[in-house]
């Protein structure tokens, strides 16, 4: 129990510190790299929770594909540092106050009922393994899986159309 807790709190510290780093760093590149650290830490949590397939999907999809896309766009747009504009000065303190209230509320709920949510100490072998995930996915969740493939196709077409429209407009203006 004690090594588990030490591992959990160490990783939780890294996750929260990297999330704060993402939030506070002025340079968008540092934010992206902090977020990658956060995603990898969460992948380790998935491993601890008996979800090896999801953990590796997290690293490939989030830390790999999505964050590389973010880094591409940041470098494309030149990682500009925005000056501090103050159009809504009251928004920042209000946001921080509301966040603190939300954290206190959930802490109250979680502390009020300790031990009611403890998971079983052992799970069946193969829980969360690629084979089990695949079987559940194609037996019980086949329709959502197909819908997701259509959604990804739509997103692909949408991204192409959105970035292409500008160029077509320029050609029309030239001609």
């Amino acid at each position: 129990m004690i090594p588990d807790l030490v591992l959990f709190f160490g990783l939780a510290g890294i996750a929260i510190a990297s999330a704060l780093g993402m939030l506070l760093s002025r340079n968008a590149i540092y934010s992206a790299i902090n977020l990658i650290i956060n995603f990898v830490t969460v992948a380790v949590f998935y491993l601890l929770l008996g979800a090896p397939f999801i953990a590796l999907a997290q690293i490939t999809v989030y830390a790999g594909a999505i964050m590389v896309l973010f880094l591409f766009v940041i470098m494309l747009l030149g990682a500009e540092r925005l000056r501090a504009s103050r159009t809504l000065a009251w928004q920042q303190p209000l946001a921080i106050l509301l966040s603190i209230i939300l954290v206190l509320e959930t802490a109250y709920i979680l502390i009020l009922r300790p031990g009611s949510l403890s998971p079983p100490t052992t799970v069946s072998a193969g829980f969360g393994a690629p084979q089990a995930i695949g079987q559940t996915l194609f037996e019980s969740y086949l329709l959502p899986f197909e819908i997701i493939s259509v959604l990804l196709l739509v997103a692909m077409i949408g991204a192409i159309v959105l970035t292409r429209r500008e160029r077509l407009g320029e050609k029309k203006e030239e001609g």
Binding site: G115, V123, L152, T163
Partner: protein, 100 residues
């Protein structure tokens, strides 16, 4: 095995940090990354509950959330690039009109 409350607490903290990022940052890309952080926090809660109930449904749902996040990032970043081309800025305070 650590109790599920600890994972829920961590998930809440990460979610709140993501929401705070959306509310206080003005760089559109960082707001987008904060949205990813919130999705990730929700995924952590899903996996923790899947472990607690010994049911794979939560993990499958995380898989779908990842696919939706990938689609969302592709379209969203394309939007940000298009906005940058017309406005020369990704400061969301500058984006105050619907006309491009």
């Amino acid at each position: 095995m650590v109790a599920t409350e600890y994972y829920l607490g961590l998930s809440v903290l990460l979610f709140v940090l993501g929401a705070l990022g959306v509310l206080i940052r003005r760089n559109a890309i960082i707001i987008f990354m904060s949205v990813e952080l919130m999705l990730n926090a929700a995924n952590l809660a899903f996996v923790a509950f899947a472990r607690m109930h010994q049911s794979l449904g939560g993990q499958i749902f995380v898989f779908f959330v990842m696919a939706v996040a990938a689609a969302e990032v592709a379209v969203g970043l394309a939007l940000i690039v298009t906005i940058f081309k017309t406005k020369q800025s990704i400061d969301i305070d500058q984006l105050n009109q619907l006309k491009g």
